[in-house]
């Protein structure tokens, strides 16, 4: 492992932080924030892979006639564009589920919800 791979180390550090928030916190809104951090980590993993040293954004300048310009790889950008939009859609859905859970149970803490469920059964 070398420090030239700092982008992988950084993405993985973010990913682990997001995962830690998701599995260790009881509050559901906090869990959604953790999921978002997780998502940003994955996006970074892709985008850093697409970067080419000395390259520029994959937008062809108006005065470029040949193919002498070096561009960064556009494919990870396209994939992550889709991922961001879908991620926001899932965030909205998850947060509205949390609102319904709050209305039904009166709390947004996971262990409280489990306790209330168990009381209802037993």
């Amino acid at each position: 492992m070398s420090l030239d791979q700092w982008h992988h180390i950084g993405s993985i550090a973010l990913l682990c932080t997001g995962l830690y928030i998701v599995i260790s916190r009881d509050n559901l809104v906090k869990k959604m924030m953790g999921l978002n951090i997780f998502q940003v980590a994955v996006i970074f993993f892709y985008v850093t892979m697409g970067k080419v040293t000395g390259g520029t954004a994959p937008i062809i300048p108006a005065d470029a006639h040949g193919h002498e310009v070096l561009y960064s790889n556009p494919i990870p950008h396209v994939l992550m564009l889709t991922a961001i939009v879908v991620g926001v859609a899932t965030t909205a859905l998850g947060l509205s589920l949390i609102v319904r859970i709050q209305e039904a149970y009166g709390t947004a803490e996971e262990d409280e919800i489990v306790r209330l469920d168990l009381e209802e059964i037993g």
């Binding site: 492992m1 951090i37 850093t48 892979m49 193919h67 556009p74 396209v78 965030t91 589920l97 319904r100």
Partner: protein, 188 residues
């Protein structure tokens, strides 16, 4: 090491601060800063379209959605006990993943395999059909059905939100009518 590495450190610090913060409103503010910073980094990494999308939907809408949820639920997190197992799981996963990335190319390597398969073809094609933005070309032309599927997903999610929050279940109960209306004034 380039400037992005420093920003990455800031990003990880922010994520840890979000994990530490018990006040959920403060965590939401830090989350908005997190989105802004990540979008700035996308610009530095030449992913201007990703930064654009992150600006429009990530930094703006996610924060507002989280704030709206906080207005309807509690905004203080209960102080739970410290748990060791999740920390160990995360550290183990991180170590495994870092071990797995040892063979991957270094940052900005122009000789990496990923840059030499279809990417030059897409850039060439975009050049030939006179669309300056390669990402637009790929998104709308080469992967048009993919984008169509994406809009379907967003539509379905919007439908789900409408069913959950404004659906028939609430209209049946006239006493509960007052409470959602009072809260909808807040979110509008």
């Amino acid at each position: 090491m380039p400037i992005e590495a420093l920003l990455f450190v800031l990003l990880v610090v922010l994520a840890l601060a979000i994990a530490h913060m018990r006040d959920l409103f403060a965590a939401a503010m830090l989350f908005s800063i997190f989105s802004l910073l990540s979008a700035g980094m996308f610009t530095l990494m030449d992913a201007v379209d990703v930064a654009f999308t992150e600006a429009a939907v990530g930094a703006g809408i996610s924060t507002v959605l989280i704030l709206g949820t906080l207005a309807l639920t509690s905004n203080e997190e209960r102080n739970g006990p410290f748990r060791l197992t999740p920390l160990l799981v995360c550290l183990g996963l991180g170590a495994t993943l870092i071990y797995g990335t040892r063979d991957l190319p270094v940052y900005g390597d122009p000789g990496a395999v990923v840059h030499h398969h279809v990417a030059p073809e897409y850039i060439e094609g975009s050049h030939n059909i006179h669309i300056p933005n390669v990402v637009t070309t790929v998104l709308a032309s080469y992967r048009g059905y993919d984008t169509f599927g994406e809009t379907t997903v967003v539509f379905t999610a919007g439908l789900g939100v409408l069913l959950l929050l404004g659906g028939a279940a609430r209209r049946r109960d006239p006493e509960e009518e007052a409470a959602p209306q009072a809260t909808s004034e807040v979110t509008s």
